[in-house]
């Protein structure tokens, strides 16, 4: 995966909602700590506002979306922006797999929320690795 061809991460923008906060925190961990060279964060709000650069990033690269609720705004906006979703994560489903990490808080996530975000980010990192390998070998990932 080259710098001009990176995987776009689009998290939920649910400001004021716990699961939205988990999705954003996971996106920060994935893009800033775990796989900074392979990824690029695009704010959902920019897609909603029709920002040309953000829409181009989504249209020109594959995306991983993280949705905080069933409205699935991140996934919908990526599709509406002409993007391709390589993988979608729903925070609720991730929590069902990691019930020991109960997220609480909004402005500041509790320890459970931070741990859930970390767990989600690690799942995303694995997916990024698989996508990167698939691109390097010219194979399909599914």
């Amino acid at each position: 995966m080259t710098n001009d061809h990176r995987i776009v991460i689009v998290p939920c923008s649910g400001i004021g909602k716990t699961y939205g906060s988990v999705s954003r925190e996971a996106a920060y961990v994935a893009t800033e700590d775990l796989r900074p060279a392979e990824t690029q964060l695009v704010a959902l709000s920019l897609l909603v506002l029709g920002d040309e650069q953000a829409r181009a990033e989504v249209a020109d690269n594959v995306s991983i979306t993280i949705d905080g609720c069933q409205l699935a705004c991140a996934s919908k906006m990526v599709k509406e922006s002409g993007g391709t979703i390589a993988k979608n994560y729903a925070v609720l489903e991730v929590y069902r797999r990691h019930r020991q990490f109960k997220p609480q808080g909004i402005g500041e996530l509790n320890a459970g929320g931070q741990q859930l975000a970390q767990a989600l980010a690690e799942e995303i990192a694995q997916e990024i690795d698989a996508l990167t390998l698939a691109e390097q070998t010219g194979g399909q990932h599914g």
Partner: protein, 157 residues
Amino acid sequence: MTGYLEVTIDKFTFRVAPDRWYTREGVWVQPSPLTPFPEGEGNQRVKVGLSDFLQQRSGDVAFAEIKPVGTRLVVGDEIASIETIKVTVALASPISGQLIEVNPALETVPEAINQDPYSTGWLAVIEPTAWDTDRSRLLDAAAYLDMMRHAAAEELP
């Protein structure tokens, strides 16, 4: 299930199934079609679940923990705990009786409560011990719709 009663407030539409009774908290109670009421106290079964209003107000369900089969319940006893993305709701049993069946699907698909609260999202089946008395405390669908409309109007802009 057809012919729901409905009320729309702001962008939300809430449905009420007409063929059952309700607690004020939003737990529905439906006699089994195989053992219609009222025909005495024996061999009766009632199914219970969450109303559409209650599930929408509570949010997406993460986990549903229902008391085990065999549990004897008195009206008001906790029958289930529903953890959603917003809150954890302790549901009070709408009737007295013995819990004889739990919806097994909710262990793996708890979102059925959100997606289909009046059918596949049912919680449990109870064999009542004081149905006539308990039923007299429940609301019919029209009364619940009216109560719910007022509650929703107060909560929503």
